[in-house]
Amino acid sequence: MINTSDILQTVRMIADEKLDIRTITMGISLYSCADPDPERMAAKIYDRITKQAENLVKTGEALEREYGIPIVNKRISVTPVSLISAASGDPLRAALAMDAAARETGVNFIGGYTALVQKGMTASDRKLIDSLPEALSRTERVCASVNVASTRAGIDMDAVRLCGTAVKAIAEATKDTDASGCMKLVIFSNAVEDNPFMAGAFHGPGEGDCCINVGISGPGVVKRALELEARDAPFDQVAETIKRTAFKITRVGQLIAKEASARLGVPFGIVDLSLAPTPAMGDSVAHILEEMGLEVCGCAGTTAALALLNDAVKKGGIMASGHVGGLSGAFIPVSEDIGMINAAASGALSIEKLEAMTCVCSVGLDMIAVPGDTSASTIAAIIADEAAIGMINGKTTAVRLIPAPGKNVGDEVEFGGLFGRAPVMRVSPYSAERFIARGGRIPAPLQSLRN
């Protein structure tokens, strides 16, 4: 029999410390939907998704109720669309079908409007990237991603340039809502095929027909555990406390993933061991770093604190789940984390420091508002920098920048809900125009002599 204090600890984690399951994401293969006729392709995509995910939201809600833990999002990821729309040459029709299917099934986001172009672009990939401004402004729930680099292929600088231009065009196409379309595009290096988190989720080409991936959360639980068990203690104890907490959180993720998979009759894919913050008080990754002894996130010591956190979360979680995958680590999206928002607004946290932080944690420059007049080449160059960090270090990195139209440093962009708000951050005013104009590929790096 479980003892009373353990039971009350679980209840407290959920009720007071905002422990939740961040997302149940159903990955669906669209390989069977390719068709030379755009209308038939769209119809096949709609039918495939609505049939496969018919009970996803209902099942998620039932689990939420029975286990007493919030499951914040129910989502779908699909095969990278550029592979499916190659036959018809019309990716936009696919985006509209995905959006309609997302509405019908009741999921809040559907990811996979994606092109994997780390080595080169097909005509279909290029069409998809060119269609991003229209696709993301005409749909509500579709999320897009482009993988522009990998450790084995290097960086496709032509794709990087196109993505920089696309980000600017999406901002312009959605300027009435503070460039909200940019929140739905992630540009990756070393993208993973089983990530359940948006906006970068897609159902990789090596995946099966369908699977269930679960993303966990719980920054508030980790912070509270550190307050109670490791205040001013040596780092050994900090790491141990984080590991123990991550284990418990991940076990809940594993339970929900197995149960969802059984009830939906779909194989269990992975649990993504991520600390995903929300803008709510008490749900911040930055506050965990501050609990370790930093005056404010962004000061000296931040990178080391984040490295410890990221590693301990993985070590604690890995034994708690049969299959760990996705992005697994601590997320640092600026607008979605109250501690990051405050640190950025006070000037303690800069893009350059965030870039350093992305070397030691999950993902990258995420949900960062930059001045609306930032040039396409500067955005492309930021993407290239981040892609280089991922490529050299053999890890996933990503960029999700929002060049907020008409806004400048000192202004703030309000996205609402889980997306939060972002103080516009300073970017270097110096030009990378000639660097980006070159195009071509940055060769894949050496895998030895790692200094």
Binding site: I2, I7, L8, V11, R65, E66, Y67, V252
Partner: protein
């Protein structure tokens, strides 16, 4: 005992008369059998943990009725399947 149908009821809040009686009455109405109760009052704060065997009861209706009792008493009353606690606290 079949663990599949076990659930944990937790009641937290300010102490008042009739809490156990009212919560138990709901469980009785739904034919849920109480296997274990732990209850404490610390500085006026009431906390109770009940392990119950749901047997044939409808989880959703029972959960609704328990939360209604909670509202009427001004307390938080939750019911959760036992597996979530096993998962978190047992290796």
């Amino acid at each position: 005992m079949d663990t599949v149908n076990k659930a944990v009821v937790t009641v937290l809040g300010r102490d008042t008369t009739g809490i156990i009686a009212k919560v138990s009455a709901v469980l009785y109405k739904h034919d849920a059998n109480i296997l274990d109760i732990t209850q404490t009052v610390l500085s006026g704060m009431f906390s109770m943990v009940m392990i119950v065997d749901l047997r044939g009861s409808d989880f959703t209706v029972l959960a609704d009725d328990l939360s209604a009792v909670g509202t009427s008493l001004g307390l938080q009353v939750r019911i959760q399947r036992n597996e979530i606690f096993d998962a978190m606290h047992r290796i």
